[in-house]
């Protein structure tokens, strides 16, 4: 079996299975931990609104913090937006999504995808260097932080090489690209990539609690 056939056949099936099972297990585990009921008299109603509001408001730091957090925020946005452009705007990716969901949309121009891929890779590399250089980031970073960045970087690198036809046969490069995506899916539920799901829970909880107190969320 060719690498490409394996990567998008059994490899992808294994990856999706591990991804879903891990995701469900991690979320269920949290759900079954007892919830603490707040018996204090609420100053304000609308805890659900507060929770949802916090989910959206925490996408950007409050104005008072922006100056000191500017660099990290710009880096995070560059990384996330550029990855989203590549994943959701690239023609081959849309074909892949259509193959299992039936959903399709118009791809973005190739030049935009190329620029976004280069910017995403640059942002990911800077993020790694920053973790190693900044005293705070260096102290608090662990294996998960670095590994998750590398695992995210691999599909970007292999994707760029495949498009540029550099380093090996196109089929081999494409196989490596899909395989790196399989690895990304497998790692997803075990590490910090899960923040894309857990962020909703943590932001919502704090938003609802502080809304109840009438405090800023």
């Amino acid at each position: 079996m060719e690498l490409l056939d394996y990567a998008r056949g059994p490899g992808l099936q294994i990856a999706v299975t591990v991804f879903i099972a891990g995701l469900v297990w991690r979320l269920i585990h949290l759900y079954f931990i007892a919830k603490k009921v707040d018996l204090s008299e609420a100053r304000c109603g609308g805890q659900v609104t507060g929770g949802i509001r916090a989910y959206f408001s925490r996408f950007l730091p409050h104005r008072e913090f922006r100056k000191r957090t500017r660099y990290g925020t710009i880096l995070a946005y560059t990384m996330h937006i550029c990855l989203a452009i590549v994943v959701l705007g690239g023609a081959p990716h849309i074909l892949f999504i259509e193959s299992f969901s039936g959903l399709a949309w118009s791809p973005l121009p190739t030049v935009i995808i190329h620029i976004a891929a280069a910017a995403a890779l640059a942002a990911l590399l800077i993020a790694v260097v920053r973790r190693m250089q900044h005293p705070v980031m260096r102290m608090i970073s662990n294996f998960d932080d670095y590994f998750s960045l590398v695992i995210t970087m691999l599909p970007v690198i292999t994707g760029i090489l495949a498009v540029a036809h550099v380093g090996a046969r196109y089929e081999t490069l494409l196989g490596l690209h899909v395989l790196s995506f399989d690895v990304f899916l497998i790692w997803f539920p075990f590490g910090k990539l899960m923040h894309s799901f857990i962020a909703f829970g943590s932001r919502y909880t704090t938003g609802a609690t502080f809304r109840r107190r009438g405090a800023r969320v």
Binding site: A34, E41, F65, T69, I140, K192, I198, G201, R216
Partner: protein
């Protein structure tokens, strides 16, 4: 020309030279085996683990933004003061023992078992360098309420006998004598009688029935007793049915700050029982930040059911009676700035109340930058002011406040927390600073109209 070695640089700016922190130092209480100490720390940390705290433990992406909101990091640039790092050993324990993939971590030893030496090392981070002011909770992009987790970590540390000695002694004294500063019931009655004479007003104590139960903080009773007279004057001017009760007059809660839930409950229940005994519909809490959080937001959890009365901070009470037109005040020709007590404003939601009061007084309010919910902490909350070894760090952090206050150009600093006031006054003496912090409550009482 001789070569100058770079290994031993000149330190001309240092007032005193010494070897800094030759070895990690921490306080311990009790004669407990090290393994038992560790077990107690983890068991009591886990005891109050719930879905909220578990989600917080899982959510951190190690972005480091919390450091940028923390006065300890901003003033020292020491990465150890990064708020989420203060919880690192407890996060390590959670991941290994209680997380969804804990069995992997244990099987392959991916997260090492926390050691008692680590806990000792972390004592400074959990107590000396965190006032639980919650500024970090406001910046966290994942919405993690780090201050709540520090409170929970303190519960583990307390039961393991790993609390800074001064804070432990203060909390123990509060448990045994009913006050952390020796403001026993008889001392309080004595002070109240004195203040009644001083302010030429009636101070009601142990009324059988009253609509309003009032409490004081030990800091006020022992250091700022005019609060007693000021409160009495205002309540008498309103014609309220009110009382202090000697079975529950003290609002501070050092059990909560040190991390002993049983002591926290004991202090809270004194106030709850006093309110029930006199049939109060409202408990008015004094100018004290953490006392507000202890009863207003945590009181019902200690009671086990919703409280049968309303709870207000004195600033909320004043804002209500002024807004409704029941209390009239004279205009005050003064430039002031306002220090927001973290537990009342940022973590309590009563940020606007003092501004309503100051607006009625007509003072020229010059807000600090940042202000309100984003104001910097005084550095003395969370029991930190009791910890003497933390003084140097606390003064370093206070320099931020001095810069903020000076930039406003205001004559006077007002606040509604006696602990903040104590921190200011202590730092004022240390820095030979010329700014006083005064009580908003006393300013109102001194300027009642009619």
């Amino acid at each position: 020309m001789s070569d100058v070695t770079e290994r031993y640089p000149l330190e001309t700016d240092e007032a005193r030279l010494s070897v800094k922190d030759p070895h990690p130092r921490h306080d311990t209480q009790g004669d407990i085996d090290e393994n038992e100490r560790l077990r107690l720390a983890m068991a009591n940390f886990a005891k109050n683990m719930n879905r909220t705290t578990a989600v917080y433990m899982e959510a951190c992406v190690h972005c480091g933004q919390c450091a940028q909101a923390c006065h300890y990091y901003v003033q020292t640039e020491d990465p150890r003061y990064t708020p989420i790092w203060k919880l690192e050993v407890f996060k390590q324990a959670y991941k290994r023992e209680a997380s969804p993939f804990g069995f992997f971590y244990r099987l392959f030893n991916l997260k090492r078992k926390v050691t008692v030496e680590q806990l000792g090392e972390w004592q400074e981070l959990i107590y000396d360098s965190c006032t639980m002011c919650g500024r970090c909770s406001l910046v966290c992009p994942m919405g993690i309420d780090i201050a709540t987790l520090v409170g929970q970590a303190r519960q583990g540390m307390f039961h393991a006998g790993l609390v800074p000695d001064e804070l432990h002694a203060t909390a123990e004294r509060a448990k045994e004598e009913g006050s952390p500063l020796g403001a026993t019931a008889s001392v309080f009655e004595d002070r109240a009688e004195w203040m009644a004479d001083e302010h030429d007003t009636d101070v009601h104590i142990d009324q059988e029935q009253a609509d309003i139960l009032v409490a004081m903080s030990s800091i006020e009773i022992m250091k700022y007793p005019n609060s007693i007279g000021a409160t009495a004057k205002i309540l008498n001017a309103l014609g309220e049915s009110w009382t202090f009760r000697t079975e529950g007059y003290e609002a501070t809660n050092f059990g909560m700050m040190a991390g002993n839930t049983a002591w926290q409950k004991s202090a809270t229940m004194k106030l709850i029982n006093a309110a029930i005994n006199c049939g109060a519909r409202l408990v008015v809490l004094p100018e004290c930040g953490h006392a507000y959080g202890a009863l207003r937001w945590q009181g019902a959890a200690m009671y086990g059911k919703p409280l049968p009365f309303e709870v207000q901070h004195i600033s909320e009470f004043l804002a209500d009676v002024i807004s409704s037109g029941r209390l009239k005040v004279k205009k005050v020709d003064q430039t002031v700035t306002f220090h927001d007590p973290c537990q009342v404003a940022r973590r309590g939601g009563a940020t606007e109340a003092p501004r309503v009061v100051m607006d009625a007084l007509g003072v020229d309010l010059r807000e600090m930058a940042p202000t309100g919910d984003f104001n910097w902490c005084c550095g003395g909350g969370g029991g930190v002011i009791t910890i003497h070894r933390a003084d140097k760090l606390r003064y370093k952090v206070f320099e931020l406040k001095m810069e903020q206050v000076e930039a406003t150009g205001a004559e006077t600093v007002l606040s509604t927390c006696s602990n903040c006031r104590q921190s200011y006054n202590d730092a004022k003496e240390h820095f030979h600073w010329d700014k006083d912090m005064e009580s908003l409550l006393e300013l109102v009482a001194d300027n009642l109209a009619g």
